[in-house]
Structure formats: structure tokens, C-alpha cells
Subunit: 335 residues, 2 copies
């Protein structure tokens, strides 16, 4: 059978076959395969972190990843930036009738690979099918559960003037990778999404630097600019960032120029912005750079008592620019 039928979402015989033959064998673990209404998880100490995201990215396959990898990495990263060790995720599929079974299998394999890389287990799930035209191919929701170890405390309220702002590498790659496919220029542009699970890199930072790490967020939709503005508004402090310090690869810079985009607003899926005590910031950069996902880590700015709630960018030519949140929709269905 090559296409998804409405009956695959009936809850009856075909749903059972789809689950047992296509969905279960892919991620495969003892908790999921019980097929109870909820997964029952052992508590591992600390507090529980809980998050969710729906993924509607278009196209579903893109350079550097696909909707399945994205759905795992995005939820792993949302747990990780809160200081949690990600452990369990759910997978809920909304599939359009007629969607290719081979594509579903490819997406599920990709989820399983990303889950293995991140060390998380898919323990519960759901499958709905809507009629042709009722959805666009496939949408995936993942929710995640992790545990925040005792002693880990991250929060905007911990940020003080003088704290430094770090990023683990070059920005804008996910958004440009998606857009290059939509514009039919992925070969010329040659940019892969940075989509990756950040829990390993973040664990190293927290293990080594402890309380010196004050806050983290992953700059996805809305890009680095929107995350900086959120942090500035959330702390009531000013933020100053240095344009020349923000890593942007040459191909991304070139593509942004052609497309009329500002890389500061383009989505990332494998980047974390970390706020670190200035005394430990160089050490943090070193730790990041030793990790495969942080080779181009750098300090991009700092918090200040000046201009509360505002983000100033020092541009390459030395002038200052005020950074606001993304207004309007730059790239719909980027994640």
C-alpha cells in the first residue's frame, strides 16, 4: 500500500496495522510498545520539565534534515535550554489522506535516529488522518519530559548587568536552507539546516560552569534578534550586541543579501543563546568550541543598566541600531 487512507485514522483495524507495522518498529522501545493510553515513566529526581511544539515545516524534506528530525531536536532543545536532561518525547501525527507511506517511513526513521542521537525515547503517540485538502502532507507534534537536576537554576531573574551573551555558532542556517528549497535554489545556495540536538553541549556547560550559566534560549522562529529582545524585555535590562561578533557564514550572508533578509531574524534550529557570568565567559566559549556543535562559539554582547528593555546593535560601520522583534511574517512554516 503506498498512500495513507482515511481508515488509517479510524482507531480500528488499519490504525492498528499502521501502528504495529510502520510506526512501532521504527523508534521501538518497551514503554511505547505497551500501547497504553499514557506512558508510565520513572521519576529521576529534581523537577520535571515539560514542553510541546507542533511542526508544520514546508517542505518536509530539506538540506540537513526533515520534519521528523526537526520535531525531535526542537523539543529536546526546548527542554535543554531550561536546564533539563531530556528523557521522553511523544509523537503525534496529523497526516493528510494520500500521503506517501514511503515518506512516512522516512520521517519516522529520521525521528528514531534523532532520538537515538539525543538519548531520548519516544514513549507515547497518536495518529490522526484527515481527508485530502484537510492538511498539507504531515504535521508532527512532539511533547517532551525531562528532569532538571537539583541545583540547576536558570531564569531571566538571575541575569545581572555585565553578564555576557554567548552563541554556539553561525546563525540563519535553518531558515535559509528551507527558503533555498522553496525558491528552487538549494544547489546554488548549498546551505544545510543547523537542526541538531543541543542537550550534549548544554550538559557540558552546566556540568562545568554550574551557576555561572544564568539563562539559555534557542533562537528559533524570529531569530536571534527576537530572542535578544525577549531577554531584554524580560529582565528589564538593556542589551548591547556587536554585529561583527555574531557568526554568520559567507553563504548565509550572500543568500540573505539576494533574498533581502536580515540574518538576525532568520530561524535557527541548532543554536543556543546562553547568558553567562562574565568571570566564566571565556571558559564557556572554550567549552562550546571543544564540542562539535559549538566550534564557532563566540561572545556576542552583554547586559547593561542603560536603555532598559532595549536592544542596541553596534553595526560593522560603528553606528548603533535598535533591534525590535520580528514584525510580520518573514518565512511562514519554517518549523
Amino acid at each position: 500500500m503506498s498512500g495513507i487512507l482515511l481508515a488509517h485514522g479510524s482507531g480500528g483495524k488499519l490504525t492498528h496495522e499502521l501502528i504495529s507495522e510502520t510506526i512501532l518498529p521504527t523508534p521501538g522501545n518497551p514503554i511505547l510498545s505497551k500501547l497504553t493510553d499514557s506512558a508510565i515513566l520513572p521519576f529521576e529526581g529534581g523537577s520535571i520539565a515539560f514542553t510541546t511544539d507542533s511542526y508544520v515545516v514546508k517542505p518536509i524534506f530539506f538540506p540537513g534534515g526533515d520534519i521528523g528530525k526537526l520535531a525531535v531536536c526542537g523539543t529536546v532543545n526546548d527542554l535543554s535550554v531550561c536546564g533539563a536532561v531530556p528523557r521522553y518525547i511523544s509523537c503525534s501525527l496529523i497526516i493528510e489522506e494520500g500521503f506517501e507511506m514511503a515518506d512516512l517511513e522516512r520521517v519516522l526513521r529520521s525521528m528514531a535516529e534523532a532520538a537515538e542521537e539525543a538519548g531520548v525515547e519516544v514513549v507515547t503517540g497518536d495518529t490522526k488522518v484527515v481527508e485530502r485538502g484537510g492538511a498539507d502532507g504531515i504535521f508532527i507534534n512532539t511533547a517532551g519530559v525531562g528532569f532538571v537536576p537539583e541545583g540547576v537554576k536558570l531564569g531571566l531573574e538571575r541575569i545581572e548587568p555585565g553578564d555576557l551573551i554567548l552563541i554556539n555558532g553561525p546563525i540563519g542556517e535553518h531558515g535559509i536552507a528551507i527558503l533555498s528549497v522553496r525558491e528552487g535554489m538549494e544547489l546554488e545556495v548549498g546551505i544545510e539546516s543547523d537542526c541538531a540536538p543541543l542537550n550534549g553541549l548544554i550538559k557540558t556547560l552546566l556540568d562545568e560552569l554550574g551557576e555561572a550559566v544564568k539563562f539559555m534560549r534557542d533562537p528559533t522562529r524570529g531569530g536571534v534578534a527576537t530572542t535578544l529582545k525577549e531577554m531584554s524585555e524580560g529582565t528589564g535590562l538593556g542589551v548591547e550586541v556587536d554585529e561583527t561578533a555574531i557568526p554568520v557564514s559567507e553563504p548565509v550572508r550572500a543568500a540573505c543579501e539576494i533574498l533581502g533578509l536580515d540574518p538576525l531574524y532568520v530561524a535557527n534550529e541548532g543554536k543556543v543563546i546562553a547568558v553567562v557570568d562574565p568571570k566564566r565567559a571565556d571558559e564557556a566559549v572554550e567549552l562550546m568550541r571543544r564540542h562539535p556543535l559549538g566550534r564557532e562559539a563566540s561572545i556576542i554582547g552583554s547586559f547593561t543598566e542603560d536603555h532598559p528593555g532595549r536592544v542596541y546593535l553596534r553595526t560593522e560601520i560603528g553606528s548603533k541600531r535598535i533591534i525590535e522583534m520580528l514584525v510580520g511574517e518573514q518565512l511562514p512554516r519554517i518549523c
Copy 2:
């Protein structure tokens, strides 16, 4: 502004406005309003139950409920039937561009009311917007976290021959309510969905009967028939049910006859099938009947060593019929 714009899903300014002005004020609690990437939850003891479901019901408003109420009750019930006390849920929205803001507000209010009734908090969420035609109105995913108290142990492996099968009331109301709207005959049919949070009723059963309750499942998609077949296959035991003992209201029976449906296969959203030690089964029925959601509770069948993996229905006229899982799709987008 009366319609959802693509920019409401951008992650930027309009997303922030939608969240702070429309989404946050509705459910409203201190954990959600922190807007961190994950919610941080205190552990309450026992094991952690974790579940997810996406809701694609059409129409989104129907007699007895709407997609918002359904999304809360469905996830609350999936946690409850596993013996968990539901505590936290997530809410992830996929909205079609142009969807009416007033409808979104109505759905969110309905989620908040259902959450309050069930005693759960919406602690984390996500909002995506897809272009016109990319989805059908609104899809809602909820995931849920609850805690299974020490000592509560439910599982198919606990079921023995002779155990009795109970249901808390009449079947088929949700499916017929949805279908009556689709067919433009909701006024003639006059049936409301049974959509309701079952955690209160289930807690009473578990508190009073303890280990005498062996297993529970909510017969949603695929109906009571599919759930019975799942239990029979899962235990390797036979199931015998008595058609005359299964509560079906007169209006549902009449509507099923007109529509050519078997109520055993029609979806429920406020029903639980409980497997109980025969020595405590009458007590279980009494407990259910004292609860507003269990007034018509009854014993509908039992497990037997005969015909392993098969479900036999004794019909009204005394003959026996084999019950299989739902084959094909009876009612797409029922939940």
C-alpha cells in the same frame, strides 16, 4: 482584528501579542505565564504518566462541546484510565490563516473551563499558523502529565478469567452528536456529545476499590467494540458481552438505525470501560451510579478462558456474534 494572519505564527511581534492578549489571559496560571521554553513542574510522588493526542474534529463546535473541551477531556481521560491523577497539560495550536479570532477565543475559553472542571493546569504551549488551505480551521494537540500514586497498578496482565467488564453509561453519544451536525440533523436527533473529564469518577473507583480495579480504557475512536477486541487480544483471554446489558439511549439507537451504524463502533468521549474483580463489581457499579457521570453504569460482560483473543456478543435474540475491530473508516475526524 477578526482573522488570524500568517504573521501570528512568525515568532515575532504578532505572535507575542496573540499569546499575551488572547491565549494567556484565558487559561492563566503562574507556570504558563512565565513563557519559558519548558514548564518546570514539581514532582508529586509515584510514577509519572505522560500522554498526547491531536484533535482534528469536524465541525469544531458540536452539541455538548467543541474541539477545545474535547482536547482537554481526551488527554485527562487518557491519563486517568492509566490510574494517574492528571495535573498538567500542554496546548499546541495549528491554525489556518483567516480563522476567526472570535472562534479561537471561544475554543480557548472552553479549554480553560474544561481544565478547571478537571483540576488540571495548562502549563506550556505552542502556536503555529499555516496559510489558507494548509489546514482546516484549527487542530489542537494536548499532551498531559499526571502522577500514578504508589500502589496503583493497572494493566492487561492483571486481568483473569471471571473478571467483569463495566461501563459508566450509554454509548455512542459523541459520534452521533458529531455526525448529526455534519448531516444537518442535529435538531431532530437532539443528541449531545458525552465529552467529559472522567478523572473524578475514576479516582473514586480507585480510592474505594484499590487493586480490585485491574484495567481501564476509554472507548473513543473505534468504539466499545474495538476496545473489547484490544483487551481480548492483549490478555489472550476471551471476552463475552451481553448486548442487552450495554446501555444505549433511545435517540442514539434510532439515529444509528437511520444512519446504518452499529453503536458498538461509534466513538465515546466520556466513557470508561473498567475491568473489575467479580467480588467487588456490584460495589463498583454502585460507586459509578452515585457519580453524575456514571448514573447508567452497568456490567456488560466478562473475561473467559474460552475462545482466547475473541469477543463474543450475546445478541438480544439470544444468538452469538463475533466482534472484530472497526474495519475501514466509519466517521473520519470524530476527535
